[in-house]
Structures are given as structure tokens and as C-alpha cells.
């Protein structure tokens, strides 16, 4: 009798009742908890989407004129993501002729391309950079690491007696290495593993030697 009950139990459990997918919440329960992508105010024609709540700030960039057609681009990581490993810098109506120096990694000049704007098609100079590990901030309330690129270039617009600078340039992030913790939003917040040392080049984090990969 015991054996018969047990066999019946085996058959029941090994049959349809033992579907591996039966573990955990149902699809309906999970979809009900799905993160929404935002409830935004209606778009107003002519507004700049970068100033809306659809935007996120991960990087700041500034351009200094050093004289003699020499410029310095400084890129700062201000995001809650991780290490910035590669990025591109674009400047309309500007021609980059040569990269002179980088703080780390390497950068190269790309061919001028046309950029579609509300003012029409503009030629755009581009610098592409890779091999960086620009550190994220310890807190999203402050800035993180920086990198700099010094280059030669000049405006595509020329008017006698007028010096043109760089306007409407933009940064596009390429690859990033995410950090194994949440970057806190206020100073002094308790974080999970942010105090771990950075991994050396080629090192991977392990149980015996935990570290934070940077690229």
C-alpha cells in the first residue's frame, strides 16, 4: 500500500507537475512588476529633447582654446554607470586636423561627415577615442574621473577679423565597464563593494582576490 502511494506520487511529480518552469512567479505576475519607461509630458515641437526627463547625464565635456589652432577637450564621468572605455566627440562646422596628446588611451581623427540639424546639413569633425578607463564618481552627486585630448583644428567658417570657437559639440559614449555595485546618490551612503581595489590590467575578480574591473 505504501509503495503504491509512493509510486503514484512519483508519477504525479515526474509528470506535468514537474515542469521546471513551474518554479517562481508567473509571467503575468512578472509583467505587472515591469519597470515603466516613463510618463512624460507631451513633446513640444522645437524643444530640445536633451533637456527633457527622457535624458540622462553620464558625461560632461569642455573645450579650451590653447592658442595657435590648438584645443583641449576634457571629458568627465558624471554618471552612475561605470568606467568609460571609449567615446566619440563631434563638432559641427569644425575641422580636426591632428590629435597631439591624450591623457591615456588613444584617439584618432575621423573623416568629416555631414550632420543633419534644424539649420540644415553641417560638416562635422570627429575624434574617436578608445582604451580609456575614466572612473565613475564615488557618489552621483559629484564628478568622477577625467580624461583629456589635445588636438589641432579650426572652424570651417571663416570671416576676416572674427575668431570662431566650438559650438554645439557632443559626446557619444561607446563602451563602458559597469561597476559591481550601485553608485550611491549621496555622500556617506553605505554601498556594497565600492571599496574594493581596482583590478590590474588583465586581472579578473575572484572570490580569493576580489577587485573592480575597469575595462
Amino acid at each position: 500500500m505504501v509503495a503504491a502511494v509512493a509510486v503514484a506520487a512519483v508519477l504525479l511529480i515526474s509528470g506535468s507537475g514537474a515542469n521546471p518552469s513551474s518554479v517562481g512567479p508567473s509571467a503575468e505576475q512578472l509583467y505587472a512588476q515591469e519597470a515603466p519607461f516613463g510618463t512624460f509630458a507631451p513633446y513640444v515641437q522645437g524643444g530640445d529633447p536633451d533637456e527633457f526627463d527622457r535624458s540622462g547625464e553620464n558625461v560632461n565635456d569642455t573645450v579650451d582654446y590653447l592658442g595657435k589652432n590648438t584645443w583641449r577637450l576634457v571629458v568627465q564621468n558624471v554618471g552612475s554607470i561605470g568606467f568609460i572605455n571609449s567615446f566619440s566627440w563631434w563638432a559641427p562646422n569644425f575641422r580636426v586636423t591632428k590629435v597631439l596628446k591624450t591623457s591615456s588611451g588613444s584617439c584618432s581623427v575621423k573623416d568629416i561627415k555631414s550632420f543633419v540639424t534644424e539649420y540644415g546639413n553641417l560638416p562635422e569633425g570627429t575624434i574617436e577615442c578608445a582604451g580609456f578607463a575614466i572612473a565613475p564618481p564615488k557618489c552621483s552627486c559629484e564628478g568622477g574621473g577625467t580624461a583629456s585630448v589635445t588636438f589641432e583644428g579650426h572652424s570651417d567658417v571663416s570671416t576676416p577679423g572674427v575668431s570662431y570657437g566650438v559650438a554645439n559639440s557632443r559626446i557619444e559614449l561607446g563602451n563602458l565597464t559597469l561597476v559591481p555595485y550601485h553608485i550611491p546618490s549621496y555622500i556617506g551612503a553605505e554601498s556594497n563593494v565600492e571599496d574594493l581595489p581596482l583590478c590590474t590590467k588583465g586581472q579578473t575578480s575572484s572570490k580569493s582576490h576580489p577587485c573592480v574591473p575597469t575595462g
Binding site: I13, P20, S21, L30, E118, L176, L178
Partner: protein
């Protein structure tokens, strides 16, 4: 008594973690539990923050969210997510490039040991759809199950046959 113990052992073996029976995603029950453990660990990293951030800036849910068993010894999962920006939600094409976002992806390799084991966490952006397509690799190759980005620091693993 011996018979009861033997039978109970058999019941547990067939129903429990020892089972090698796979669902339509190619996962065993033990694989699913391990995948959920891994997703919970991943939700405590900036992978979750980044996924939420991209979902907001792309104005769209993830186009893909897959949990692929990359290796079984040790059991290692590849969590791969992509986003194709919703230009309409971003305000149409009036501002052309200003309203566009890049195609984005996240690739996280992790074991159920979480950040105490070996892992790699990467995010990238591509300017073209073909560039994004090139990132997929074998993320959809079985065993591979669909996941969801949930609210409140969590990822969910969808049951098989629920796409």
C-alpha cells in the same frame, strides 16, 4: 521503513534539483533557480541602474532581455539586453539627431556566486542597427530564457512558453 525512505528519495530525485529534465527554454529546474539567484545578484550592481537609465532615455522597454547559459562547468550565465530607441516617444524626427538615441546593449557574465565569483559587466552603444545586431552572438541559442527589467532593483526570469 526502508521502502518508504527509498521511495521518498526517488520522489525527491525526480521532482527536485537532481532532475535533468529541461523545459522549452532548455533550462532544468535547478538552472532556473541558479539563474534567478544570478539575476538577484546582478540587480545589486550598476547593471540594473544602467538598464533603467537606458530604458528612460530610449523611451522604450528593452527590445531583448535574455538569460543564456554560457557554460555549465562552472554554471555561468550571460544576461544580454538591447534597446532600440522609440523615436516617436522621444518626440518624432523634428529635431533629427537631437531627438535620437543610440542603439544600446548590456552584456553581463556572472555565476550564481554573484560578485564573489568571476564576472564581467559591459555596456555599449552603436550608431546603427546592424552594429547592434552584431552584438547578439548566441544570446538566443538554447538554453536561453527571457528576462524582464522589473521595478525596485530586480530582474525577473520569465517561465518557458511565456514570450
Amino acid at each position: 521503513m526502508g521502502l518508504v525512505a527509498l521511495t521518498l528519495t526517488a520522489v525527491l530525485l525526480v521532482a527536485g534539483c537532481g532532475s535533468t529534465r529541461t523545459d522549452s527554454d532548455g533550462f532544468t529546474a535547478a538552472d532556473r533557480l541558479s539563474a534567478e539567484t544570478t539575476l538577484a545578484a546582478l540587480a545589486q550592481t550598476s547593471v540594473y541602474d544602467t538598464a533603467l537609465d537606458i530604458t528612460q532615455t530610449a523611451a522604450e522597454d528593452p527590445t531583448a532581455c535574455q538569460v543564456h547559459i554560457q557554460s555549465t562547468h562552472p554554471l555561468t550565465f550571460e544576461v544580454f539586453m538591447t534597446w532600440i530607441p522609440n523615436i516617436k516617444n522621444l518626440g518624432g524626427t523634428v529635431q533629427q539627431k537631437a531627438g535620437e538615441r543610440l542603439y544600446s546593449w548590456i552584456r553581463a557574465i556572472m555565476t550564481p556566486a554573484g560578485v564573489k565569483g568571476s564576472y564581467s559587466l559591459h555596456q555599449g552603444n552603436d550608431m546603427t542597427l546592424s552594429g547592434l545586431d552584431a552584438q547578439y552572438g548566441d544570446a538566443f541559442a538554447k538554453p536561453s530564457a527571457k528576462c524582464l527589467l522589473l521595478q525596485n532593483d530586480a530582474f525577473g526570469l520569465l517561465p518557458a512558453n511565456s514570450s
